[in-house]
């Protein structure tokens, strides 16, 4: 595997250039007594940014690229990136947080969009973070039955 070897060498060279020299940090510093450490299993907390979003049938339709939160820090909407070929024609649409279902798991997290393609395709694009965000919110709460 020449490619990976070459990339490894490039990586090492850049690491040597980028890492500032200083005292070694091999010993983990103690946490101050005001905080403590808790560990969350993958099925209790999952990363979402950059994650693929699938439809109920498992087909990947979008990618979650941003989360809009309220003043309390609770998620209000997710910004999803739809469509496109090699980055041309991508469309960012904000959907209400309640339209997503999260299935954290060991290694295979899933984010499922419960809206049908027809429900989002006419939505205005989310572009400017400074302006009021257009968010697709279900008209009536209609959680879809689980299909697996």
């Amino acid at each position: 595997m020449t490619v990976s070897r070459v990339s490894l060498i490039v990586l090492l060279l850049l690491l040597m250039a980028a890492v500032p020299e200083g005292p070694s940090r091999s010993t983990t510093p103690e946490l101050p007594p005001t905080v403590e450490l808790q560990t969350f299993a993958p099925r209790e907390a999952m990363p979402v940014l950059g994650h693929r979003v699938v439809e109920a049938d498992g087909e990947a339709v979008a990618r979650l690229i941003d989360v809009l939160v309220d003043p309390g820090g609770r998620p209000v909407a997710a910004v999803l990136d739809f469509g496109g070929f090699m980055g041309v024609g991508v469309r960012k649409i904000a959907v209400h947080w309640s339209t997503l279902r999260f299935e954290p798991g060991e290694g295979t997290h899933r984010i499922i969009l419960t809206l049908a393609p027809d429900e989002i395709k006419a939505a205005p694009e989310y572009r400017d973070p400074e302006k009021p965000a257009p968010v697709v919110v279900p008209a009536t709460p209609k959680p879809k039955p689980e299909q697996q």
Binding site: L8, G84, G89
Partner: protein, 401 residues
């Protein structure tokens, strides 16, 4: 002398392959970087910064890179360095998508691209001489379009079915054949370009070039061309995704590939026609097809026709790709500012393109897509009128003073 002809044929084929590989290398950069970084947990602000940094680098490097290529005696070495730099940028993106390496890759790629465009033109000029430049750059454009189209197809499949890292690994791999071709493109030793004796005379020569009407008018035309052109596909593709949902992807892919096929078909004809009938008829054809396409996009009833309309962009792209080096050579007449000239045209083009997506994107948001398309049509029309009224025929003008 059959052996000499064989060498020449080999050099021609190798230059074909060089154009093919370099265009393929460039395919993964650009908008795909945003998709790639979004999947690497990059925030939208960071992605915007990285892309802007790449655009700004590509803009400010055009003229310095042209001057650099002019100053270098071995143009092939400049091309080799550019190929390597793009390979390293691709590897950095693939293996280490953190902030500093990605920003480094964006800057290195931006500068290297600005070296490669004039570098390839200079190598071509050295290989075939001024008389056959039009035909040769037509051939360059054909193989670049083939490389671009095939790489876009391959990378689209790789990105969907393997991993988006594979896109940048393929980019890096394309470096190898590109580098291998270089030693075989051995032009016969050229007489060093004439150079004014004194510093004063050199400065006067530079001022004369920079105030040359042909250079200024064509730079303005290049800026108007990309101001009209760059935003058309992104806005049309966004609209398509809106109407067709996720199934728009195949149509968008066709909209990217069809113009490349047209460029590959017509570029050699453009190069030959430029030599036979002059530059102006082709310039008018290339520029006039911009407002035509914009108006068609504004009134288009059926998204499937979008592919056909986008194919028209292949004609303007072929004309533009061939005309930049040809007119740079017309203006400099074999003097050593050939690459500076290409750099100036490149600066005008990238500035127009960057402005296009910003302005027309904003207009599409505020007033709707048809208004944006019609505004682009007006810009394209202005460009055509400037070509018609102000751009002289550069092909038949004798060497000045």
């Amino acid at each position: 002398m059959p052996r000499k002809r064989a060498t020449k044929t080999r050099a021609t084929r190798c230059l074909d392959l060089l154009n093919f590989c370099i265009a393929g290398e460039q395919t993964g950069f650009g908008p795909f970087v945003a998709v790639y970084l979004a999947a690497r947990q990059w925030s939208q602000v960071e992605i915007g910064f990285a892309l802007s940094l790449g655009t700004i680098t590509a803009m400010v490097s055009q003229v310095p890179a042209g001057v650099l290529v002019d100053a270098l005696r071995g143009k092939r070495n400049a091309v080799a360095a550019g190929i390597l730099a793009i390979g390293v940028s691709a590897l950095l993106l693939a293996v280490w998508p953190a902030l500093v390496p990605v920003l480094t890759a964006q800057v290195v790629h931006g500068f290297a691209s600005c070296v490669l465009t004039p570098g390839i033109a200079a190598v071509s000029l050295e290989l075939v001489g001024r008389a056959a430049l039009g035909e040769r750059v037509g051939r360059n454009a054909r193989f670049a379009a083939l490389g671009n189209g095939l790489a876009a197809g391959a990378m689209g499949l790789l990105g969907s079915y393997v991993s988006d890292q594979a896109v940048f690994l393929l980019t890096a791999v394309l470096c190898v054949p590109a580098l291998v071709t270089l030693p075989f493109i051995d032009a016969k030793p050229q007489p060093p370009p004439r150079r004014a004796a004194t510093r004063h005379a050199r400065r006067a020569e530079l001022v004369a070039l920079l105030t040359d009407r042909r250079l200024l008018v064509f730079a303005a035309c290049a800026a108007l061309f990309h101001l009209a052109d760059a935003a058309m596909l992104p806005i049309a593709a966004g609209e398509l995704t809106k109407r067709e949902g996720v199934h728009a992807n195949l149509i968008i892919a066709a909209c990217i590939l069809a113009p490349q096929a047209v460029v590959a078909l017509v570029s050699p004809w453009v190069g030959r026609t430029a030599e036979q009938f002059g530059r102006r008829p082709l310039l008018l054809l290339g520029w006039a097809s911009l407002p035509l396409r914009a108006v068609l996009l504004a009134v288009l009833p059926n998204p499937y026709l979008l592919v056909a309309v986008q194919a028209i962009s292949g004609v303007s792209a072929a004309v533009f790709g061939v005309m930049v080096p040809v007119i740079a050579d017309d203006v400099t007449q074999g003097a050593r500012r050939f690459n500076l000239c290409i750099g100036i045209f490149g600066l005008a083009a990238t500035a127009g393109g960057a402005l296009s997506t910003t302005l027309a994107g904003g207009l599409a948001d505020a007033a709707g897509d048809p208004v944006a398309f019609l505004s682009l049509a007006v810009v394209g029309l202005v460009g055509t009128v400037v070509v018609w009224l102000a751009m002289p025929e550069t092909g038949t003008i004798e060497a000045e003073d």
